[in-house]
C-alpha cells in the first residue's frame, strides 16, 4: 500500500496539536439518576454514588487510553447527572447539600475534575424540590470541590421567571461571600441559563436532561489557537474567503471530537450523544478567541467591529462543524469567557472591552456573560438585573445565554481575581452605578415573546 495521506496533511495535524493547542476539551458522560430516588436519604446517597461509580468508573482510564492511541490531549473527563431538583425533588435543603457531598465523593473516587447537575429548571416556576435545591446552592458549592450547579430561569417558549432571577442574584452573591478567601470560587461553579441545552458537555453548566438516555457520551472540542493561526496567515482574505478558511478549520477540529466521541462510546459501551463544536479558550497564550477577532483586523477585542467579527466567526464555526459530526449539540459556538481567555483579559485591562460590549457580543455567539468578575459591593439586585438582560437576549433570539458572574468580595473595578487552572484569573469589571432594584423586585414572569413579526 502507499501512504494515504499527503505529507502536508500529517504535518498539519501534528502542528495543530503541538503548536496551536488543539485538544479535546472534555469527554462528559451523562448519567440519569432518575432511578436512584428513595425515601431514605442514606439509601438514596448510596444509590447515586454506586450508579456514578459503576457507569463512569472507567471514564478517566479510557480517556487516557484514547488520548495515547491518537496522540491528542483530552483535557477533562467529566460527568453530568439528572438535575438534582428533579431526581431528588422530595428532599429538603439540608438533604440537598448531602446529595452534593455525595456527588463530590463519587467524582473524587472516579478521578474526574467536575461533576455537573446540581441543577434546577425553573423557567416557569418552582417546585418544592427546586426551592430546596436553590437554597442549598451556596453551601453545596462552597463545601464541595467538584460539584457544578446550574439553574435555568427562562426559555423562549415560557418567558423569564423573574422571581428566580431575583433569587439567583442573592445566591450568586452568597456563593462569593462564602468563598471570599478564594476569590469567590463557588460562584465560578454556578451558571444561570436561559434556554439551557440538555446535552451540554461543558462545565459549569452541564446536566443530563430528562429527555436523554440512561447514559451517554458527549464531547466538547476546543481549538481557538488553530483558528487564530489560520486567520493570521491570510491578512488579505476578504470576508467570503475568511469564512471559508474558518469553516475548513472548524471542520477539522470537530472531526477530532467525532473520532474521540465514537472511540469513547465504543470503549465504554455507552451511546454517543453529540459533539459540542464550541471554540473554548483557555488561559494559555495562543488559545484565545479574542486573538482570533484581533487577527481579523481589530486592534483590540471589544472595539467597534467586534460584534461583526464574532458573528462571522461563530457562524463559520457552526457551518464547518455541522458537517463534521453526525450529531451536533450542546452549546456549539464560540465561547467568550473573560477569565479563561488571555486575550479577553488583556482587552479588559486596556479598557477596550466593557461589560456592555461583552453583552452585545453575546447576542451573536455562545454563551453569555461568562466568568466575569464584578466589584465586591455589587448588590444582589444588580446581579439579578444583569441576569435579566442576558436572559432577555437568549429568550428573544431563541438561543442559549448564561451568566457566570463572580462578585469579587472586597475588591473594586480594576483589581484582579485569581481562580487558577482552566478558570484563570481576571480584572474586576466596572458596572453601572445606577440601581435596578425596583425593576427586579416587581416579581412574576416576563411573558414569552411572540415568534412572528420577527423584527
Amino acid at each position: 500500500m502507499t501512504i494515504t495521506f499527503a505529507r502536508e496533511e500529517i504535518q498539519q495535524t501534528i502542528k495543530m496539536i503541538h503548536e496551536e493547542n488543539l485538544d479535546i476539551r472534555t469527554i462528559t458522560m451523562g448519567i440519569s439518576l432518575l432511578d436512584c430516588v428513595s425515601e431514605d436519604i442514606g439509601r438514596m446517597e448510596q444509590k447515586i454514588y454506586d450508579k456514578i461509580v459503576k457507569n463512569a468508573g472507567q471514564l478517566v482510564t479510557v480517556g487516557e487510553q484514547i488520548s495515547a492511541r491518537y496522540g491528542i490531549p483530552i483535557i477533562n473527563k467529566r460527568v453530568s447527572v439528572t438535575p438534582i431538583a428533579i431526581a431528588a425533588a422530595h428532599l429538603n435543603t439540608e438533604e440537598m447539600v448531602r446529595i452534593a457531598r455525595t456527588l463530590n465523593r463519587a467524582a473524587r473516587e472516579i478521578g474526574i475534575n467536575f461533576i455537573g447537575g446540581f441543577s434546577a429548571l425553573v423557567q416557569k416556576g418552582f417546585t418544592a424540590g427546586d426551592l430546596a435545591l436553590i437554597d442549598a446552592i451556596p453551601q453545596a458549592l462552597s463545601e464541595t470541590e467538584f460539584v457544578c450547579s446550574s439553574v435555568n430561569i427562562g426559555t423562549t417558549k415560557t418567558g423569564i421567571n423573574m422571581d428566580a432571577v431575583l433569587k439567583m442574584g442573592k445566591v450568586i452573591l452568597e456563593c462569593a461571600q462564602r468563598t471570599a478567601d478564594q476569590d469567590g470560587i463557588a460562584a465560578a461553579k454556578l451558571v444561570v441559563f436561559c434556554n439551557a441545552p440538555e446535552d451540554n458537555p461543558f462545565m459549569a453548566g452541564a446536566f443530563h436532561g430528562v429527555g436523554e438516555p440512561e447514559c451517554v457520551i458527549n464531547v466538547g472540542v476546543s481549538g481557538p489557537g488553530v483558528v487564530a493561526k489560520v486567520v493570521k496567515e491570510f491578512p488579505e482574505a476578504d470576508f467570503g474567503e475568511l469564512s471559508n478558511l474558518i469553516k475548513q478549520t472548524a471542520f477539522k477540529i470537530t472531526r477530532m471530537g467525532e473520532l474521540i466521541g465514537r472511540a469513547a462510546s465504543k470503549s465504554l459501551n455507552v451511546p454517543f450523544g453529540i459533539v459540542d463544536l464550541s471554540l473554548a479558550p483557555t488561559p494559555a497564550i495562543g488559545d484565545s478567541v479574542a486573538e482570533i477577532l484581533e487577527n481579523m483586523g481589530l486592534e483590540r477585542c471589544g472595539t467597534h467591529g467586534t460584534t461583526a467579527a464574532l458573528a462571522l466567526l461563530n457562524d463559520a464555526v457552526k457551518k464547518g462543524g455541522a458537517m463534521a459530526s453526525s450529531h451536533v449539540g450542546g452549546l456549539s459556538g464560540a465561547f467568550i469567557p473573560v477569565s479563561e481567555d488571555a486575550g479577553m483579559v488583556k482587552a479588559v485591562e486596556v479598557g477596550a472591552l466593557t461589560l456592555d460590549k461583552l453583552e452585545a457580543m453575546t447576542c451573536v455567539c455562545s454563551v453569555g456573560l461568562d466568568m466575569i468578575a464584578l466589584p465586591g459591593d455589587t448588590s444582589a439586585e444588580t446581579i439579578s438585573a444583569i441576569i435579566a438582560d442576558e436572559a432577555a437576549i437568549g429568550m428573544i433570539n431563541k438561543k442559549t445565554t448564561a451568566v457566570r458572574a463572580i462578585p469579587a468580595i472586597g475588591k473594586k473595578a480594576g483589581e484582579r481575581v485569581e481562580f487558577g487552572g482552566l478558570l484563570g484569573g481576571a480584572p474586576v469589571m466596572a458596572i453601572h452605578p445606577f440601581s435596578s432594584k425596583m425593576f427586579v423586585n416587581r416579581g412574576g414572569r416576563i411573558p414569552a415573546p411572540i415568534i412572528s413579526l420577527s423584527n
Binding site: F5, R7, E9, T13, A68, L259
Partner: protein, 97 residues
C-alpha cells in the same frame, strides 16, 4: 476510505529533527525488534531538517500503540528528535470526508 475505529491497527510514525546519521536504522531496528511491520516510508531533508513519515502495522506485534509511542518518543528525545506514533484514524478523520 473506511473509518475503521479499532479494526485497523495501523499507525503513523513521524520523526522531526535535525538530520543525523542512523535515524532510520534506529527506528526501523526498534520496530523490527517488536515485530512492527513497516508498510511505507517517506522521508525528506530540507535545510538539514529531517522529516520522516512512516506507516506501520502493529498487528503482528505484541506491543501496544501507546507503549510503542512512549518508547520511541523517549528514545527520540535523547537524540533531539520529535517522534510521534498515532493511530491512522486521527489523520483519516481530520482530512477525509
Amino acid at each position: 476510505m473506511a473509518l475503521s475505529l479499532g479494526e485497523s491497527n495501523r499507525a503513523i510514525v513521524t520523526i522531526l529533527g535535525r538530520d543525523q546519521t542512523g535515524i532510520i536504522a534506529w527506528v526501523s531496528g526498534r520496530l523490527a525488534e517488536h515485530s512492527v511491520n513497516i508498510l511505507d516510508i517517506s522521508q525528506t531533508i530540507v535545510d538539514e531538517f529531517f522529516t520522516m513519515i512512516m506507516v506501520v502495522d502493529l498487528n503482528p506485534s505484541k506491543i501496544g500503540l501507546a507503549d510503542l509511542a512512549r518508547m520511541l518518543e523517549e528514545e527520540g528525545n535523547d537524540k533531539n528528535l520529535q517522534v510521534k506514533v498515532q493511530h491512522e484514524d486521527i489523520f483519516t478523520f481530520m482530512h477525509r470526508i
